[in-house]
């Protein structure tokens, strides 16, 4: 069993490392693919495993992006001058400055987002069910709007990020590597978490929060820890994405609530939520479909996407992993005792 799993991971690692060399023209889409995988996987930590369906994880993505931008620039320039000058100054970053700034920026983004999630947790985790979803959606929307009013970070004009100093081919590889690395680390960490007692505890919260609390699980603390892990990775990937795009702006790039914010949920559902591999498979499938329709159905891609979302959710609720587990239970080591599933667990 371990051998097979190990082989699978080795295979994915090999494919992930080799892909950019074989298909260099698709490198940027593949980088985006890993971002999607990371988003879906970390969303599932709360949405699938803990039963808290957040529609606002994108808040951490955007905040991370801005934190890293500020850190990267503030180390060497006055941020307010940089953003308000409307490009009148053309800042130069040496190689060391760029990489040191990027490294510290990503770290700061991760930890900053973590802190934010911790604080938000006090307010948000009192809400349950759809109220949590709508509350987090509201926070993400407001965050984008409010970020646009802060002139220090350029307001609605956005910030042009320092540009990668070396050749463009290296740049693509570098960011691909970062995305792959972050997605892989997140996946392995989640895999480990789900196997610990913490994983069982958050599952208990999902299944019946009041009982879990009655059993002595400090639910608020566990929920906050869960969200903090998600936030850390969303912050880091936000920082990476901001540098990949090169130009950040509050509503469309940093806090894309209606695109990335919803996509991550859709991907997790497509693959099957509450499973380790579901979000990964969902993300891969979703991303491939998205990019294909975008290429071949010019202007119609959103119609296609809406249809896919509806069909997925309305007619294919269980997701791919759910379907596989139902069809081939032995493969997953599931024994079936024919008890009816507890349908109204969440009601």
């Amino acid at each position: 069993m371990l051998g097979r799993r190990f082989l699978l991971y080795l295979l994915i690692l090999g494919a992930g490392l080799a892909a950019p060399w074989f298909y260099p023209q698709y490198i940027q889409q593949m980088a985006l693919l890993w971002i999607m995988v990371l988003m879906a996987s970390t969303w599932d930590l709360l949405g699938g495993q803990m039963g808290y369906n957040s529609l606002g994880n994108i808040t951490f993505f955007g905040c991370g992006m801005y934190i890293s931008a500020v850190v990267q620039i503030a180390m060497f320039y006055d941020v307010a001058a940089y953003t308000s000058a409307f490009g009148a100054i053309k800042p130069e970053f040496t190689d060391e400055q760029y990489f040191m700034g990027l490294f510290l920026g990503i770290l700061a983004a991760g930890f900053g987002a973590m802190l934010l999630s911790y604080l938000l947790g006090f307010i948000m985790f009192g809400l349950r069910g759809p109220y949590f979803a709508i509350g987090t959606l509201g926070i993400a929307t407001a965050a984008g709007q409010l970020m646009g009013t802060i002139d220090y970070v350029g307001g609605g004009s956005g910030i042009s990020m320092p540009f990668f100093p070396w050749a463009v081919e290296i740049r693509a590889l570098f960011f691909y590597g970062l995305c792959f690395f972050l997605a892989a680390v997140a996946h392995l960490l989640l895999r480990w978490i789900y196997s610990t007692q913490f994983g069982l505890a958050i599952n208990a919260i999902r299944d019946d929060e009041d009982k879990a609390e009655a059993m002595g699980i400090p639910t608020l603390k566990y929920k906050q820890i869960g969200w903090a892990i998600t936030a850390f990775f969303m912050g880091c990937i936000g920082a990476v994405f901001g540098n990949m795009v090169g130009f950040i702006e509050p509503v469309e790039v940093a806090f894309p609530v209606a695109t990335f914010g919803i996509f991550m949920v859709a991907m997790a559902l497509l693959g099957g939520k509450g499973t380790l591999w579901g979000p990964v498979i969902g993300a891969v499938l979703f991303h491939v479909i998205k990019e294909t329709t975008w290429t071949y159905l010019l202007g119609w891609q959103w119609v296609a996407l809406g249809l896919i979302l509806i069909i997925n959710i309305v007619y294919f609720q269980e997701g791919i992993m759910g379907w596989l587990q139902r069809k081939f239970p032995e493969f997953f080591g599931i024994t079936i005792d024919h008890a009816p599933p507890d349908k109204d667990a969440e009601q």
Partner: protein, 410 residues
């Protein structure tokens, strides 16, 4: 020591990557067709103007092909544009720049709509050394970054509405008042273009020591600006300036009409694109509209004739336009620059083309095009026009041409 090691890593990495990533020979010229690449907003908040832009490109491409195409090395080539939808988001646009260049092998680019999207694409095309002639990104910040491969046929955005402030100052002087007594109310969409327009006004107002009494920023999806206009009504400023692409103009005109605002000077961008003179003729009477191009311009070229010929041809091709927005005109002009650059360089080499574009000095129906060392067009003025009671746009050359105070007939 540290920098040495960085350079070594860089060199090794470059070498290994260039070995592995020796880009596949993709077609930028297929058979007898030259392929230009463009990202266009077909969906999302800029899609109105995205469409104007796309039609401008298509119209010019068709005309050039009808006239025999582009002659390079004694052979005739047809032009064709490969479009992608950037969904009005800079994130998509930046990806697209890489995708067009790396995946589709495009080596000649046309610009997207809007400064934000151009800002996102320019660093990428610059890094790849792919020339981009853009027609819709007017923010000054695009031309201070030292880009070598970015060229814009239009005037920069701080010039859009600054003349409105100048006109207000002139009128104040004529009325025997100090220009510093003029009060300005302004509302701008919170996006790079509009904020740059705002910058131009702030600078000019500072010059005259005028007071800015209202300075609101409109969210992208705000369909109601009555709160701002109520303030205007209460304060009664001398000048009201609004900029927020087409929907900003439409929303403002509708609510100015409804509240029957009597501000003596109202300045706007995108009047033509939003068709305010048709939809709200009463309120729009006397609006000052900044425009990059006027169809009465006498400038001409051998492809389209003069500005009004282009205008007539475009209306024939797209009968749904009663007045053609300048966004389409400048898009057509960008294609003309590509055409002449190909023939001047007589080559498909990016570097030679870049130099040919930089040396462009041509007259088009859109106006004269000559690029500064920073890539912006410095040979073409902005125009200011005022809408009259019959919905016509009249050019304002001197302050005396302006009807002041505007006579809105509600």
């Amino acid at each position: 020591m540290k920098s040495f090691s960085f350079k070594t890593i860089s060199a090794i990495a470059t070498l290994s990557a260039s070995l592995a990533l020796s880009a596949p020979a993709l077609a930028k010229v297929e058979g007898d067709t030259i392929i230009l690449g463009a990202a266009i907003s077909l969906t999302g908040k800029y899609s109105t103007n995205g469409l104007h832009t796309q039609r401008g490109y298509d119209f010019a491409v068709d005309r050039i092909n009808d006239l025999g195409g582009v002659k390079v090395g004694g052979k005739s080539y047809k032009l064709s544009v490969k479009y992608y939808d950037d969904e009005s988001t800079p994130a998509r646009a930046a990806q697209l720049a890489e995708r067009l260049i790396q995946q589709d092998g495009v080596e000649y680019m046309l610009g997207p709509y809007g400064s934000g999207l151009t800002k996102a694409m320019a660093p990428v095309s610059e890094k790849f050394g792919v020339p981009m002639i853009e027609a819709e990104g007017a923010s000054r910040s695009l031309f201070t970054q030292g880009y070598k491969y970015l060229f814009a046929v239009l005037s920069t955005s701080e010039q859009y509405l600054a003349p409105v402030v100048e006109l207000a100052a002139a009128k104040a002087k004529a009325a025997g008042k100090e220009p510093s007594s003029v009060t300005i109310a302004m509302a701008f969409e919170n996006d790079p273009f509009s904020l740059d327009v705002r910058e131009g006004i702030v600078d000019t107002a500072k010059k005259y020591n005028m007071r800015i009494v209202i300075d609101d920023k409109l969210p992208a999806d705000l369909s109601d600006m009555s709160a701002t206009l109520t303030k205007v009504k209460a304060i009664k400023p001398d000048v009201l300036i609004v900029s927020g692409h087409s929907k900003g103009a439409a929303t403002a005109a509708r609510q100015i009409d409804e509240m029957t605002l009597q501000v003596p000077i109202v300045g706007m961008t995108h009047c033509e694109a939003a068709k305010v003179q048709e939809k709200f003729p009463a309120a729009a009477n006397g609006f000052l509209c900044a425009t990059q191009w006027v169809e009465s311009s006498p400038k001409k070229d051998k492809y389209f004739g003069n500005a009004s010929d282009w205008n007539a041809g475009f209306k024939k091709a797209y009968p749904e336009y009663t007045s053609v927005p300048y966004q389409s005109a400048q898009a057509s002009a960008a294609v003309l620059v590509w055409k002449e650059a190909f023939e001047a360089a007589n080559s498909f080499d990016k570097k030679q083309l870049r130099d040919a574009i930089a040396a462009t000095d041509m007259e088009t129906f859109y106006g004269h095009i000559r690029f500064s060392e920073f890539g912006n067009n410095i040979a073409k003025p902005m125009f200011m026009r005022q809408i009259d009671g019959d919905g016509n746009y009249n050019a304002i050359i001197t302050p005396d041409d302006m009807v002041w105070p505007r006579k809105a007939q509600y």
